[in-house]
Amino acid sequence: MGKIKIGIYELTGCAGDALLILDCESQLLDIFQAADIEAFLMAKSDNSHGPVDVALVEGSVTTEEEKEELLAIRDRAEIVIAIGNCACEGGIQAALTASENWSKEFRQVYQDLKLTNVKPIPSQPIDAFIKVDYYLPGCPIGQEQFLTTFTRLLAGHPPELYRFPVCMECKWRENDCLLNKNLACLGPLTKGGCGAVCPSHNLPCIGCWGPAEEANRSAEFKLLLEKGFDLESIKRRMAIYAGTTIVDFFNQLKKEKS
C-alpha cells in the first residue's frame, strides 16, 4: 500500500489553519514521512492537482472561482475535511451575509470598483456547495485535535471529534463559571476542544470554535438580557463566529417579538 495522499487547500480566510499545521514543528517530519503531501501552498511550490485521499480545506467560499475550485477538490478527494471556522461556518465574513443586505454592504465597501478577475458572492461555509465528511472547528483549529484526526485517518479510522461545549474543559480546569460572574461568556454555545483557554484566563469565551452541536441560543440570549446586557451587544457577540447559522436565530427572535 502506498502512502496516504493529502492535499491542504486554502480558500478565503487568514491561512491561520494552514499555518497551525505548519507549526506542528516537532511532528512535522513524521507528518511528511507518513503521508504524501500533494498540495500545500504555504509549505511548498510544486503542488499537484491530482487525486488525494484526504483534502483539508480551509477558508470560506467568497467567489465563483473558489466555488469551482472547491467542486474540483471534492471530485478528486476521497475524504473532505473542513478546517477552521471559515470553512466550517463561513467565518466572520459570513456573519449576517444571508441577511439579504449583502449587495448593499458590498457596494458600501467597494463602491463602484470594477472587478476584473473574480466574481464575488456572499461568504458561505464549504458545505453549502459540497458534501463534507468531517469538521475540524476552531479559529484557528487546535493542534491536538488536528493531530489526533490526522493519525486516525492514517490508520484508516474515522476521527473522534470533541462534541461537548467549552464548559466541560472549563470545569476540568477548575474555573469559576464566568456567566455566574455576570460576564457574557459564550462557553455553553461553543464547541469544546480548545482547552477552555480564554475562560481559564478569566476572559469570557467569544465562540471562536463555532456553535456547539446543541447550542441553546435562546436560553443564553434571554439569560444575558436578564443579566443586563443590551440586545445589540449580545447579538453582535453571538454573531462573530456563528457564521451563516445565526441569521435563522435572529429571524426567529424577530418573530417571537412581533
Binding site: Q27, L29, D30, I31, Q33, A34, L147, T148, F150, T151, R152, L154, A155, H157, E160, R163, F164, P165, C167, M168, C170, K171, W172, E174, N175, D176, C177, L179, N180, G187, P188, L189, A212, E213, E214, N216, S218, A219, E220, K222, L223, E226, E256
Partner: protein, 354 residues
C-alpha cells in the same frame, strides 16, 4: 472509634509531620477569586480551614478529569499508573466523604476499577467539620454527619479539635506525633461538642424534602416541569462535572506518529450531553434534553436507592452554585413538590413555550 483532642495550634505541625513522604492536598483559595480547589501544597499555612466547598469535588483525585489509561505499541500495552502517588487529602467535609463512599460502591465493589482502587488505597482521607451556607442541603440528604470512610476526622471546636480515628491507618498517623494529642475528654469537652452539634443542626437554612423524592420522581415522571427545565438547559455538562457522585466517563484512543506509543485516554463525561446516549447506527436514546435531565435527577433523587440504599445526592450544594440557569437539586425538588420556584429556567419557560 477513639476520639482525641488536638490543640488548634498543633494542627498544621501535625499535618506537616504526617505529610513527610506523601503529597499533602488541601483546600486552597484560587488567586484573586472566591473559589476553593483541592490542590497539592508544600505551604501548609495556605490551607483554608473555613471554606464551604471546593469547585470540583475530591473525585478528581481518584478519577482525574482526563488521564492516560495506558500506552500502546506494537508489542502490547502498558498501563500508566504514574499519576497515582502517596497522598494525604485534608479538608474533606462530610458531604464529600459520603460522595467518595458513593463512588466506592461503583468503582471498588463488583467491578473494581484498578486506577480508582489504587488511588484510593494510596490516599489518606482527613475529614474536617464545616458550617453550612445557604446552598448546603446535606442535612436534608442525611449526609451532614459522617461515621465511616475517613482515616481521621477533625471537628473544629475553636480552641481545639476533636479528632476521630476512623481506621488503623489513621491510628498510625496519630502515633507519629502522639505528643500533640490528649486522650480522654472531660465533661466540658463533651458538653461543648453536643452544643456545637445542636447549633450546627440549627444553622441549616435550605432544605429539600429528600425522603419524598423517590416517590415524586416516579409520580411526576411525565410532569411538564421536565420539558420546561429541558428548554432552558444549556447542556453544558457543568452539573455533572461538579457533582461528587457523577462518575461517567468517555474513552478515546489516540494514535501517535512515528512509532511513538499510542494511548488510551479516559475523560469525564455527562449524561446531560447529546453524545452520551448515541449508539452505533446513529440512534440516540435520549435526544431530548428533558429526558437527559430526567435521567440525571433519577440518579440523584431516586434510582440509586433501589441499588445502594439511598439516592446518590449528598447535598453538597455544588449544582446550586454552578448551573447558570438554576437547574439544580433544590429547584427541581421544590418544583416536584409543587412549590413556586424562583429560577431562570422557570422564568424562561413562562416566556418561551418549550
Amino acid at each position: 472509634m477513639r476520639i482525641l483532642k488536638l490543640k488548634r495550634q498543633n494542627l498544621f505541625p501535625f499535618l506537616q509531620a504526617i505529610s513527610n513522604g506523601a503529597e499533602l492536598w488541601g483546600p486552597i483559595k484560587k488567586d484573586n477569586q472566591t473559589i476553593f480547589n483541592f490542590v497539592p501544597t508544600e505551604e501548609i499555612a495556605k490551607l483554608n480551614l473555613n471554606f464551604t466547598r471546593t469547585l470540583l469535588p475530591p473525585k478528581k483525585l481518584f478519577v482525574p478529569p482526563s488521564f492516560i489509561m495506558f500506552q500502546v505499541t506494537n508489542k502490547g500495552y502498558q498501563e500508566d499508573y504514574s499519576w497515582i502517588k502517596e497522598r494525604v487529602l485534608f479538608g474533606l467535609h462530610p458531604c464529600d466523604l459520603h460522595g467518595l463512599l458513593n463512588l466506592d460502591r461503583i468503582f471498588a465493589q463488583n467491578f473494581p476499577d484498578s486506577y480508582y482502587v489504587q488511588a484510593r488505597q494510596k490516599t489518606l482521607l482527613l475529614g474536617l467539620s464545616c458550617w453550612p451556607d445557604d446552598y448546603c442541603l446535606c442535612q436534608s440528604t442525611h449526609t451532614d454527619i459522617i461515621e465511616e470512610g475517613f482515616d481521621l476526622f477533625f471537628t473544629d471546636l475553636e480552641d481545639y479539635y476533636l479528632v476521630w480515628i476512623g481506621s488503623s491507618k489513621g491510628d498510625d498517623l496519630i502515633r507519629l506525633k502522639p505528643e500533640f494529642f490528649e486522650e480522654g475528654l472531660n465533661e466540658k469537652d463533651i458538653e461543648s461538642y453536643i452544643k456545637w452539634r445542636e447549633r450546627r443542626a440549627q444553622a441549616f437554612k435550605t432544605k429539600i424534602n429528600f425522603v419524598f423524592m423517590p416517590d415524586l420522581m416516579e409520580l411526576k415522571y411525565n410532569s411538564p416541569l421536565w420539558e420546561k427545565a429541558g428548554a432552558a438547559c444549556l447542556a453544558c455538562g457543568s452539573c455533572s462535572m461538579v457533582c461528587p457522585t457523577c462518575n461517567c466517563y468517555n474513552v478515546r484512543d489516540e494514535i501517535s506518529l512515528g512509532n511513538k506509543p499510542g494511548r488510551r485516554v479516559r475523560e469525564w463525561d455527562s449524561c446531560t450531553l447529546l453524545e452520551y446516549s448515541l449508539v452505533a447506527g446513529g440512534e440516540n436514546f435520549r435526544e431530548k434534553k428533558s429526558s437527559r435531565l430526567k435521567l440525571w435527577y433519577t440518579h440523584k433523587l431516586q434510582a440509586f436507592g433501589s441499588k445502594f440504599g439511598k439516592p446518590s445526592c449528598v447535598g453538597c450544594g455544588r449544582c446550586l452554585v454552578t448551573c447558570p440557569v438554576g437547574i439544580n437539586v433544590k429547584s427541581i425538588s421544590d418544583s416536584l413538590e409543587g412549590q413556586k420556584v424562583d429560577a431562570f429556567w422557570v422564568r424562561f419557560s413562562e416566556e418561551v413555550r418549550p
